[in-house]
């Protein structure tokens, strides 16, 4: 019996080893295992002990490299990792299928939530409702995303309450505060609410362990992949809408209402859930895309910024301080931060400094340089014309990002000179996440009060 279980163990190891080959399917391994066992039985009958029989049988099957190469030739499609979501493999009760069903149901719920206000006289097509939709749109979608992760991570009841709190608070604030429709503070609150709530979704994503450094990094990775999937789905949605318009116009009907009131809002809401589900189920199946894009664009942006600084010095042209300048520079810093974040998220923390790290530092430093010049120009303007909600928000964001990138540059320098491990850079970034959250809530909830809802 003992010997038998030892044989089982070795067959199990062999199976695992074979299973790691991409071209060899689980079903193929089953078939080969039947062969292996038949061979072992025959050899044992002819007098070999089980150990020898196992070794001979494995040897006769042939070397695994050429075997998997042969399988790869027959099944070249398997080398393209497929994100198959058909219920075939596991049946209706498999976790993958259930997960997909929940995601689709929640996506439907989000789509319905988008349309629900219509019943209460808030028509999407009606300009008078613009303000209502602007303030509440993230509340139609993000609670379902949070619920999806809450369900998936099997949150405990108390944590569900914690998770619900920010959404309830947001609903009360957005509909209780006396915003002036079309005002600056309303737009700012509406713009910052998704950021605040996205980080609340992170609480559910981390299964409640939001203090955990690794969980935060995972959420950063998730967010990047999610954005890419969402953009791809949106692209497909655009094609779908284009054909909808084309087909209905071909029979002389105007598809405007169908497109702008149904397909567009419902699709955009549902895609939030579908993208999240895809990212979850493709984890470890397909290479992450965000770090790949980072690799491509880090050198290009570093080059652009250096070129810009060089041109500015060469021509002596000053920055043209306009209304959008500050926001433009905020976006630039966000982009640089994203490039930094996704190269950090994909980097092996134990690897020694490389050329790419130096490039990253060059990117951060040039972005900082450009931003300081912009801040200098803008401060003068603020002193002259006074504060407005938009300027304070943009300025606050600029300072938050400047502090992050400034300290990141210092840490990078110390890492490159071998004084600190790379993990310190990761910790700085994950530790900084609450700052974004606090700022977002300040803009959502405090700004309207300070600036009198104008």
């Amino acid at each position: 019996m003992n010997e038998n279980s030892q044989l089982e163990q070795r067959i199990g190891q062999w199976r695992n080893y074979l299973r790691r080959r991409q071209a060899v399917d689980a079903v193929d391994v089953d078939e080969l295992e039947d062969h292996l066992r038949s061979q072992i039985e025959a050899l044992s009958e002819s007098g070999l002990d089980e150990d020898e029989a196992f070794l001979v049988a494995v040897k006769r099957l042939g070397d695994l490299d050429s075997l998997s190469r042969e399988f790869a030739r027959e099944y070249s499609e398997r080398l393209w990792k497929q994100l198959v979501i058909a219920p075939g493999a596991g049946g209706v009760s498999s976790p993958g299928f259930r997960d997909g069903m929940v995601a689709i149901l929640l996506a439907l719920a989000a789509a319905i939530a988008m349309r629900l206000p219509e019943l209460f006289g808030r028509h999407l097509s009606d300009d008078a409702s613009n303000s209502f939709y602007l303030r509440n749109v993230s509340l139609f979608v993000l609670p379902f995303l949070a619920a999806y992760f809450g369900w998936k991570r099997e949150l405990k009841a108390t944590r569900w309450l914690w998770l619900a709190a920010p959404f309830l608070a947001a609903a009360l604030l957005m509909n209780g505060l006396p915003f002036k429709p079309g005002g600056h503070t309303e737009a700012l609150s509406a713009l910052h609410l998704p950021i605040a709530l996205w980080l609340a979704v992170g609480f559910a994503y981390a299964g409640g362990h939001w203090r955990c450094h690794e969980q935060r990094m995972n959420y950063v990775r998730f967010s990047g992949e999610w954005l890419i999937y969402y953009a791809l789905i949106a692209l497909g949605g655009g094609v779908l809408m284009g054909f909808t318009a084309f087909l209905f116009q071909a029979i002389g009907l105007d598809p405007e209402v169908l497109l702008s009131e149904w397909i567009m809002p419902c699709g955009a809401a549902g895609a939030f859930l579908i993208a999240a589900w895809l990212v979850e189920s493709k984890q470890s199946v397909i290479e992450n895309m965000a770090p790949v894009l980072t690799r491509i664009f880090t050198p290009l942006f570093a080059l652009l910024l250096l070129l810009f600084v060089g041109t500015m010095i060469w021509t002596g042209n000053a920055l043209d301080v306009g209304r959008e300048l500050l926001i433009g520079f905020d976006l630039l810093l966000v982009l640089v931060l994203a490039l930094l974040l996704y190269s950090i998220s994909a980097r092996d923390p134990k690897a020694p400094p490389s050329h790419f790290d130096r490039l990253q530092l060059a990117l951060v430093l040039s972005a900082l340089l450009v931003d300081v010049m912009a801040l200098w120009a803008i401060s003068a303007r603020i002193v002259e014309f006074g504060f407005s909600p938009n300027k304070v928000a943009a300025l606050g964001e600029n300072i938050i990002l400047l502090v992050n990138l400034g300290w990141a540059a210092v840490l990078y320098l110390r890492f490159l000179t071998g004084r600190i491990p790379f993990a310190a850079l990761e910790r700085w970034q994950t530790g900084y996440v609450p700052v974004y959250m606090i700022w977002a809530w300040i803009v959502v909830a405090i700004f309207p009060l300070i600036f009198g809802f104008r």
């Binding site: 078939e31 080969l32 039947d34 050429s66 399988f71």
Partner: protein, 115 residues
């Protein structure tokens, strides 16, 4: 005697189809049958049979079904399809032509050929 790699590869398809022509079978039994028929001279690397069987299945010459062995283990059985029977007939004609051409030469030639 070592049979050349190319010849082993070329003869694999007609051999497998012909063995399945005797009735449905499975991987291990097919290999045993080949070895029996050639008195152990024709040795395949066992694993390589399976990609071949799958290729024949994709082409529609054989059909595979999962069944149970005598000991109750899951086992994949293969049997010829009508298309496979037709292909086997074609193969047979080709091999017979090659065989009879060579036979004619062997017959005219004494055992020890000298350059």
């Amino acid at each position: 005697m070592d049979i050349g790699k190319d010849l082993v590869a070329a003869s694999a398809t007609p051999l497998v189809l012909a063995i399945l022509g005797e009735g449905q079978s499975y991987g291990y039994a097919i290999i045993k049958r080949v070895s029996e028929l050639s008195d152990g001279e024709l040795q395949w690397t066992d694993g390589m049979l399976y990609p071949l069987l799958h290729r024949l299945e994709r082409k529609g010459y054989v059909k595979a079904v999962w069944g149970k062995s005598d000991t109750g283990r899951r086992r994949k059985y293969y049997r010829l399809t009508p298309a496979g029977v037709k292909h086997l007939k074609g193969q047979r004609r080709q091999w017979e032509t090659v065989d009879s051409a060579l036979r004619g030469l062997w017959f005219a030639m004494p055992q020890g050929v000298t350059p």
